[in-house]
Structure formats: C-alpha cells, structure tokens
C-alpha cells in the first residue's frame, strides 16, 4: 500500500476535483481519480459519489450566489445559457475571495469580452447596485457648510463624491430593461444608446438615475476629486453659453439634494 499523501498534496488534488462542478465530464473525472485518493466509500455511495456531493454543492452555491446579484441578467440569458456561462466564468475566474458576495465581481468584465455589449451593460448596472449597497459610509457635504463659506474660499472648495457613487455609460436603456426583465415583461436589448446613469446610496437605500452626458462627465471629475474652480474651468471649456459658475452651482444644488457630495476631511 502506498504512503498516504501529505495534507498539501491531498488538498491540491481535491481542490481540482471540487472545482469540476460545471464540467460536462465531471462524473467520469471523479471516477478516474477515486482510486488515487484515500477516501472511503461504502455500499451506499462510492468514493467518487461522495466527493461529487461536494463538487455539486460548491458549483451550485457559487452559481446561485452570483445569480442572486444578477437576477435580470439571468432572466435575459435564460437558465440554460446562464448555467453554461457560469461554468465558463468560474473556470476563468476561480473564486479567490473569502466573501462569497464578491464571487461575481469579475462577471461584468467577463461578459464584456464574451457576450453582447447590452448584456455586459446590464450586468455592469446590476453589479453597480450591489457594489453601492455596501460602499463605505461617509459624512456629507451640507448646504449649511456651503452657505457659511466666504466668497474667497469658493475657488479652493474641494469637491468629492460619496464612496457609493457609480457612473455608467450603456448602449441600451439598462434601467428600463432591468425593471421589465424583473417584472416579467417582454423586452429587447437593441442598441439605442448611449445612456448615462449614476448609481448611489442615500443613507441605506440605493438609487439610480439617468443623467445627461454633460452631468455624467462632471461627476467623473467629482469622483476623481476636484475643486470648485477646476469644475468651473471645465464647464467654461465646454462653451455652454451660460456663466460657468452658475452652471456649477446648479449642479451642486442637485448633487447636494441627492446626497452625492462628501464633506471635506
């Protein structure tokens, strides 16, 4: 009888078998491997069947956890296509994080390379909603703070977005599409964009809103961190035909009302 494998050898071999959940030849590969492992079987279940219990559970758990976060994407693809997609995705991106919630974090980028832009956009939107839900809390910039600001201090005023802000640019109306898919209404994923959206959290609730491309771009500046003077300069470059500071103040009022701006540290 050969010596028992070390714990490391054993775990490396089993890890490979436990990761076979989505593979078409999973059962045959488990059967091939069973004689090389010190795993017991009995009249009820062979060693391969016992290992297979884990293999099946692991795949199902990861698949279902990801599906929970991408409900509309699952509906758009259909169950069979989703099952096959997740098998390929998990093979390309084995779960490497202790938090199962993050198992789907690479899916939007994976879909960008493998599916239509519309499906990738829909998945990006769904992930933005999830990501925003658990983003860091932050103290908000208040209207009182701005009202108390001396006129000479305005140019250097630092503008930063709350950590939960996510900005999206999509080729189709993903907000409508998602709603229809979740409500079971017919929808198509035709390209009619671009659509620009923001996703953010106010207190504990996540919101999303379509915004004009101009505001979308302004928010990109805010997300990177800018000053009021730099924001005005960027607006002026756009030649809106209005006074840049008036446009900036109007944007700020909307963002303050929606709790999009963070207080200075």
């Amino acid at each position: 009888m050969s010596a028992a494998p070390s714990l490391r050898e054993l775990q490396h071999q089993l890890e490979g078998l436990f990761s076979l959940g989505g593979a078409a030849d999973c059962e045959a590969r488990l059967k091939d491997a069973e004689s090389s492992l010190p795993v017991g079987g009995d009249g009820r279940l062979s060693p391969a069947q016992r290992i297979g219990i884990y293999t099946d559970m692991i795949f199902a758990r990861i698949r279902d956890a990801i599906a929970e976060d991408f409900s509309a994407t699952v509906t758009a693809l259909g169950d069979d296509a989703w099952e096959s997609l997740i098998a390929r995705y998990v093979e390309a991106h084995p779960t490497d994080h202790p938090d199962l919630r993050l198992a789907g974090r690479h899916l939007p980028a994976y879909l960008r390379a493998t599916e239509t832009p519309q499906i990738a956009d829909l998945a990006s939107f769904e992930w933005a909603l999830i990501d925003s839900f658990t983003a860091a809390d932050a103290p908000l910039l208040s209207g009182d703070t701005l009202r108390a600001l001396a006129p000479e201090a305005w140019p250097a005023l630092e503008l930063r977005s709350v950590p939960s802000l996510r900005l999206l640019c999509a080729t189709s109306p993903i907000d409508q599409t998602r709603r229809k898919l979740l409500d079971g209404e017919p929808t198509d994923l035709e390209t009619v964009g671009p659509f620009t959206l923001r996703v953010w959290r106010r207190e504990l609730r996540v919101f999303h809103k379509r915004v004009p491309p101009f505001e979308h771009e302004a928010l990109q500046h805010i997300a990177r961190g800018t000053t009021f003077a730099d924001l005005c300069e960027w607006i002026a470059e756009g030649d809106t035909g209005e006074d840049a500071s008036e446009v900036a103040v109007r944007l700020l009022q909307g963002w303050l009302a929606d709790e999009l701006l963070m207080a200075a540290p």
């Binding site: 714990l7 890890e15 279940l45 692991i58 779960t95 202790p98 504990l204």
Partner: protein, 291 residues
C-alpha cells in the same frame, strides 16, 4: 481567560429579517452574525448589526477562515475580522474545523480534514496564530461531512478534543452536524457527544437537514428534526445549559418561526434543569435519611 457568558438561545442574523428586526425586538437571547457578511465598508448590513447589538449580545461566526488549509493564513482576512470584532465586541468568535480552499482558491464549502497527527500539529499552529491576532480564544465547530479519509488515525471527536487541549481553543458543537455525520459515516452520535470535553464546549448549533436517501445533507433549510431535538436533549444533559443557536440559511422562514424553534430549545433546557433539580433533590433526601 474569562468565563464564557451563558447567553441562552439565539438565532442567526439573516438579511430576510433585517426590516423586521429594525421594527421590533425578536424574542431571542442573542444573535450570531456570519463574519464575512459584515466585512464591508458601510451600508445597511452594518447598520442592522449596530442596531441589534444595542439590545442583545452578538457572536461572530466565520465560514472562510480555512483553519485547515495548507495555504498561508489570509492575513488580510484576519485583519478585517479583528476590525469587525473591535467594532461589535462579540462574546466570542467562531469558525469551522475544516478547510475551504487551496491554491488560493476559495471553494466556499466546509471541507473535511483527515484526522492525523500531521493535521493536528498543522491546525494547532494556525489556531495559535489566529488567537494571537484576535487576542482571544478561537471557537471551532465540527462540520457535517460526506466522506472520511482512510488514513485517519483517530476519530473526529478525539481529534477535536485533542486540538482544544493543544491549541487552547474552544468548541462550538453543532448537534445537527454530529447527527448528519453519524448517519453518513455510521458512528454513534451519542458516543461523539460523550467524548466532548465539558469545559470547552461554549456553544451549540441546531439546524435542519435534508434526507437524500443515501446520505443526509446539511442544508439548514428546514426545522430541526425530532431526532436532532432528542440528541440536543442528550447533549444538554451531558454538557449543561450551553448557549445554543438555531441556524436557518435556506428558505428562511418568518422570524416568528425561528422564535418558535428558540422556545422549543428553551423548553428542553428547562426540562433538563427540572430533571437535574429532581435528581439532586432526591439525592439530598437520600443522604439525609442515610445520615
């Protein structure tokens, strides 16, 4: 080391009940929060945990420490766990006696270990490191399993008992897992309970499972079955009124259903207490007459 508090009967903190828990107090003694579900930077889950923590004790229960893997300990994970513990001051921190992945992949399952001296040394060393980081004893839970290793040199119960002595850690005894594994591997569940060192078992778990015909699956998606309630009663008789938690993770029912399960566990504890008082009273009467 301070004595472990006697918490009573608690339930797992699950998203399904978040809204209800913000509106009313549950009729339970404490909550167990899955550590990884709260390792985030902000948002509703942390708000809810803050809320329940104001009125009830909380325990952190992890699923991804992977104490038995041969990969290096995930120091980032440990740091996040320690940060979470500083914020919520749990009564204790638990995880599972298992491995959850290898080659830096996390399989998100509680995988069985061989019960050998090599593994005992390996796990004890890692427990020591975790306890250093956390500054407290780690509590480890027995998992349900679907196969065993033919080169094991001791039983799971013997391994767990040896580990807690060697690593100076504590035990979360999952009564349902004992029942499930006993069925799957054909050992005596009560003998397993008998092997547990009484002073090391700080918590019990109860949960439902599924009968797959050839084996039992630890699904946490059903009420505790009568056989597991019986084994719980046996465990309380052997180990005393150990803090107990009702786990329910799949098809999570309304909070009221979990409160019913909590009441049932309390009733069993009360009945065992009454038996003990009767027995002790009888013994005292006997001694008086003998004197």
């Amino acid at each position: 080391m301070e004595a472990i508090p006697k918490l009573g009967i608690g339930i797992g903190l699950r998203t399904t009940h978040f809204s209800e828990l913000l509106e009313r107090s549950a009729q339970v003694d404490w909550f167990e929060a899955v550590s990884e579900n709260f390792m985030m930077d902000g948002g509703r889950p942390l708000h809810v945990l803050d809320h329940v923590r104001r009125d009830a004790p909380v325990v952190l229960h992890g699923v991804s420490l992977s104490i038995g893997t041969t990969d290096p300990l995930d120091e980032t994970y440990l740091t996040r766990l320690a940060t979470l513990a500083r914020r919520f001051e749990p009564e204790w921190i638990s995880d599972h006696l298992c491995w959850t992945g290898a080659k830096h992949h996390n399989l998100h399952d509680l995988l069985p270990l061989p019960w050998t001296e090599e593994v005992l040394t390996h796990v004890a060393e890692r427990v020591a490191r975790v306890q250093d980081v956390l500054g407290r004893r780690l509590v480890l839970e027995n998992v349900s399993s679907y196969f065993t290793f033919s080169h094991s040199t001791m039983s799971e119960a013997e391994f767990l008992s040896a580990l807690v002595e060697r690593a100076d850690c504590d035990i979360l005894l999952d009564v349902n897992n004992v029942y499930v594994s006993a069925f799957n591997h054909g050992f005596d569940a009560r003998a397993y309970i008998d092997t547990m060192p009484r002073d090391r078992v700080v918590q019990l778990h109860l949960a439902g499972h599924s009968d797959m015909g050839t084996h039992l699956l630890d699904t946490h998606d059903a009420p505790v079955c009568p056989e597991v309630w019986d084994l719980y009663r046996y465990t309380i008789r052997r180990l005393g009124r150990v803090p107990t938690l009702i786990e329910w993770d799949g098809n999570v029912p309304p909070l009221a259903t979990l409160e019913d399960e909590v009441s049932r566990a309390r009733l069993i504890c009360d009945e065992v207490d009454a038996e003990t008082r009767t027995k002790n009273g009888g013994a005292r009467v006997g001694r008086t007459f003998a004197a």
